[in-house]
Symmetry: C2
Subunit: 226 residues, 2 copies
Amino acid sequence: VAVGILDVDLCGPSIPHMLGVGRPDVHQCDSGWVPVYADAQKGLALMSIGFLLEDPDEAVVWRGPKKTAMIAQFVSDVAWGELDVLLVDTPPGTSDEHLAVLENLKKHRVDGAVLVTTPQAVSTGDVRREITFCKKTGVRILGIIENMSGFVCPHCSECSNIFSKGGGEELAKLTGSTFLGAVPLDPLLSGAMEEGADFIRSFPDSASFGAISTISRALLCDLEGA
Amino acid sequence: VAVGILDVDLCGPSIPHMLGVGRPDVHQCDSGWVPVYADAQKGLALMSIGFLLEDPDEAVVWRGPKKTAMIAQFVSDVAWGELDVLLVDTPPGTSDEHLAVLENLKKHRVDGAVLVTTPQAVSTGDVRREITFCKKTGVRILGIIENMSGFVCPHCSECSNIFSKGGGEELAKLTGSTFLGAVPLDPLLSGAMEEGADFIRSFPDSASFGAISTISRALLCDLEGA
């Protein structure tokens, strides 16, 4: 499956670091910016404002209109090539970035939104507002993922629900959405993201990888049916 | 100490829930909106867009200019009364909300910014950009707090650094900022926020309360000296 990831968190672009691609120069070709390909995951193309800043500590002090223009460029001017899936990672909220993505993807087919929450009420509350946004803007909800869902101590194997429990599944029920699954807190996963390492190849037996792969398969299945 | 909290996370107002004040109606007096007072903590006044929405699930689908206007109103039209400290809680980033707060507080004295990170590189990277923003806009950095800093298993007392280790302190050193302290992951603290309970009175002996109270005292000391 050829996947593209478009990172529209313009003030906090973290995906380049998590995928271990660093800060390569972005090249231009006739059909636009050439996305950056992650070494570890073949076929995974990435575009992020992180590649366009000269200094990694540079603050993107942009108001909404400038953000909107940048996102329009990301959607129209990146030479993604043939993709099966384009995943757009947005910051939290229901503001300029979200509106800009939808407006600029109008010409294309938007399959829907995957909403990620933690189990806590303050987080499900934010996602409830995102659901309202999706309904208002006519975006189908592909499902809800509960992240940071329990922590199994690697020393004693006891589980602690550090950020409460079950909020994602409950939210899915309440709103008639699909519950895609729960991803536990996992130092292996956050360690791999910290190092930009290939989590899938390093920890195929971890609980968090199991959860993520079940969720991905369900999503792909849904999209292929669409 | 009379403290006011202004929640300018317009798309994700979570402070009313965390302080257990629910969604009371906000009243008007001659000098503006009357803030909501938290029951448990005497003298703690709060203003948030959460109080102004009819439906808690309502999405605030606002672009930058509307956000900026709302924040201007929050700064000028709330009857805070006599305050020793006004704490403004912003969403992450360096965009409309942050610029609006600074512009509207120009007439007042802005003592500085408290920056909160997790230990991870993706989070310290975001905070490095916030530091650049503070330098550009002339805001003094009061210090850096490391949140989600290690988890002591309540079953076996072993510590797991779920989100890496030491990133906040290292960032403070690298940028010449004060390191205010590290707050561990604590189910007691997140549970109290989930219920809107009074954490200070319920768990005065917890490690996270110890860390928070040391940080608060250092900050107050700094502000009183200013």
